[in-house]
């Protein structure tokens, strides 16, 4: 079970540290935030620390249909030649899809990126698997490997599948799409899977979304694909238990949860509070909450090396190191075998333990802030039950 850094603009040395400490197994680069020379120099730096890491570059083509919106901010993506803004009509032509894919592979090769595999471009399915967007996305997936072979690209190809949470909720459309996805003549080697939120992580913490995200990982892995889940943060263990290969999470909240809004100007506001990821709660709480609970003899720390950073609070740039360390530790609790049932039992026990911790907190009369409360646990628990039912485990 692997965890990757979901990289953004602040390069710094967080990823190097995470790799040195062994809490992350690789990185997914953002072409919006880093230009080609920056990506190449960072790759060299990371491989100098550990040659066994896995690295990927997200082509972020899912922004291509939003060109009509003048406030769209695609950063350094525009410096790539393969990237253009399209309308859906344009991409209904297979010829144009082939052009996007082949020019991406060509440019990638010319840039001499030494990565483990290539993530192929695709669009964002914003509403439904029964839509024009879904048809276009399926064509991108269908042609991803075939085009790579023609471009003499021998590294593994990961087709992007970037979908909104809403697309996952219609069960029959979802199952039909899955059926199509697993019957491709020249299949990719794997998938780079992103599920987009509308409002932030809260709407991803939904029973049907998590259950079907798990089923997607399960189905693709049964069919021999490696699945890398982007922006999966705390949902990572659910996805990897279901058969996924890796999850990813990053530093700021927009690298923990994907939203297409990331490419539009934010409404401003204060920087979010620093939060400590407590494995006992399966959630993040503020340093002051951690301290208040400690005062009433409730120790919610993980017993890991980055705990000491929260005394009182770390530098903002180091917050992610504690997150990576915690999620990585969580993943170690699962067996690496393909015994899904066994791992689901462990996951259920972890959730049950979190429920018990929240009960203890309530018994002590401590009221946590809204973001720190236990709203995530019911969908977590129900998602496992729903997944077990749908996967007939």
């Amino acid at each position: 079970m692997k965890l990757f850094a979901q990289m953004g603009f602040a390069n710094g040395n967080k990823v190097s540290k995470g790799i040195s400490e062994g809490s992350i197994d690789g990185a997914i680069f953002s072409i919006k935030d880093l230009d080609k020379p920056q990506i190449n120099s960072t790759l060299a730096e990371l491989y100098a620390i550990n040659q066994n890491i896995e690295t990927f570059i997200d082509p972020m083509f899912y922004t291509s249909l939003y060109g009509e919106n003048t406030s769209l901010n695609i950063g350094k993506i525009s410096s790539w030649d393969f990237f253009n803004h399209y309308k859906k009509n344009d991409l209904e032509s297979e010829k144009n899809i082939l052009t996007v894919l082949s020019s991406y592979y060509k440019e990638f090769k010319e840039s001499d990126f030494q990565v483990s595999g290539l993530i192929a471009p695709n669009i964002y399915i914003s509403e439904s698997f029964d839509s024009r967007e879904a048809v276009i996305a399926k064509n991108f997936i269908r042609l991803a490997k075939e085009t790579a072979i023609k471009a003499n690209e021998s590294r593994p190809i990961f087709a992007s599948l970037v979908i909104s949470r809403e697309t996952l909720i219609n069960q029959s459309e979802f199952e039909e799409f899955l059926n199509d996805l697993t019957e491709i003549e020249t299949p990719p080697d794997g998938f780079y899977l992103i599920v987009g939120s509308r409002t932030g992580k809260e709407d991803l913490y939904h029973t049907d979304v998590i259950a079907n995200w798990m089923l997607l990982n399960y189905s693709l892995s049964i069919n021999g694909y490696k699945v890398i889940n982007g922006y999966s943060d705390l949902i990572t263990p659910f996805l990897l238990v279901a058969g996924g290969y890796a999850g990813a999470t990053g530093w700021w909240s927009n690298l923990r949860t994907f939203t297409i809004n990331r490419f539009f100007p934010s409404s401003g506001g204060r920087l979010p509070l620093l939060r400590y990821l407590s494995l006992k709660l399966l959630s993040r709480i503020t340093g002051s909450e951690l301290s208040a609970l400690s005062d009433v003899n409730i120790d919610l720390k993980n017993g890991l090396s980055h705990d000491k950073d929260y005394d009182p609070d770390p530098d903002r740039a180091d917050e992610v190191l504690q997150s990576w360390e915690a999620i990585s530790e969580l993943l170690k609790q699962f067996s690496n075998s393909d015994e899904i049932k066994e791992n689901l039992i462990i996951l259920t026990q972890i959730i049950q333990s979190s429920i018990n911790w929240y009960k203890i907190i309530i018994q002590k009369g401590i009221i946590l802030s809204k973001k720190s409360q236990d709203n995530h646990l019911t969908p977590f628990h129900e998602a496992i039950e729903k997944f077990i039912k749908n996967a007939e485990l």
Binding site: E176, N179, D180, L215, I222, N223, G224, A391, E392
Partner: protein, 292 residues
């Protein structure tokens, strides 16, 4: 079958055929064992009703399709065409189409199941390998069989083709035209229907995984000697409801003597959602050949 010709009438229609013996009948078809050029074959006689309704042409078209598929198939695990090419015959004033297939000695898997004797693992595994190889061949030519079941499989005892699949009468060409007049009608035998075939508009999405499901169910039944959906008190509707919702007992619970990987493979192939059945038949075959 209505208007089944008797042996003497058939003999009179085929001068080069000897030793005619009636084997079975069903639907619009009767089957006879014959000797032709010192070789045993199965003569199939298909009754074509005289009325001018649409059903007539669909029987002929289905037959043409079945023969076309049989000609294209290269697998040792499917029945081969015999020496009598399809021809129209008028026997006793009724229209028939007649052709022959090779005659396969042996019992059907159904007959073997009815003996109610525990069947060793190597036999069960061999059946699944033969069926998977056949499905791979169907996949190659873009066909879904839609009626894999114990009744349609002969255990021949011949090395290299231990189990042979018969009867492609319901085979479906994925890119072809629909030959079932009522598109809502479900072809196949209810107990062996893949769950996705119970959904409206299933034809558009039907693929080899429906055959994989029926092959796994047939193998499961061969192993445990009963179909998990069979209940003599159930109506067809109740049976279909059960197929769409009931959980099958895992194979390892009923045959703990089987290797875990094999049980897992069968269980996985019996999943209700097609996309969570294994999609790589080559890999399944490779695993089966490599492992115990």
């Amino acid at each position: 079958m209505d208007n089944i010709p008797d042996i003497d009438q058939i003999k009179a229609s085929f001068s080069n055929v000897n030793d005619l013996e009636f084997i079975q009948q069903g639907g619009f078809k009767a089957v006879y064992k014959i000797n032709i050029g010192n070789r045993e074959e199965a003569l199939k006689v298909i009754f074509i009703p005289n009325s001018g309704n649409e059903e007539i042409s669909s029987i002929e078209l289905r037959l043409i399709r079945e023969i076309k598929i049989l000609e294209e198939l290269d697998s040792p695990f499917t029945v081969k065409l015999g020496s009598i090419a399809p021809e129209k015959k008028v026997i006793d004033g009724h229209n028939y189409i007649c052709y022959s297939e090779e005659f396969l000695e042996g019992n059907s898997v159904r007959t073997e199941i009815k003996k109610n004797r525990s069947i060793p693992y190597r036999e069960i595994k061999r059946l699944f390998i033969c069926l998977l190889a056949t499905i791979n061949e169907f996949k190659r030519i873009g066909v879904v069989h839609r009626d894999i079941k114990p009744d349609n499989i002969i255990k021949t005892g011949v090395q290299g083709r231990e189990y042979v699949l018969l009867d492609l009468g319901l085979a479906f060409i994925r890119e072809g035209t629909n030959l079932t007049p009522d598109t809502r009608a479900i072809p196949g035998t209810p107990l062996y229907l893949a769950p996705e075939m119970l959904k409206t508009g299933f034809r558009e999405r039907l693929n080899f995984r429906a055959d994989l499901y029926s092959a796994a169910l047939t193998t499961y039944e061969y192993a445990v000697l009963h179909n998990p959906f069979e209940n003599p008190r159930h109506s067809i509707y109740q049976t279909l409801l059960t197929i769409g919702s009931a959980k099958i007992d895992q194979l390892e619970n009923l045959r703990p003597d089987f290797p875990a990987y094999f049980c897992k493979m069968i269980n996985q192939s019996l999943k209700r959602i097609p996309a969570i059945r294994p999609g790589n038949i080559d890999k399944l075959l490779h695993d089966l050949e490599e492992r115990e």
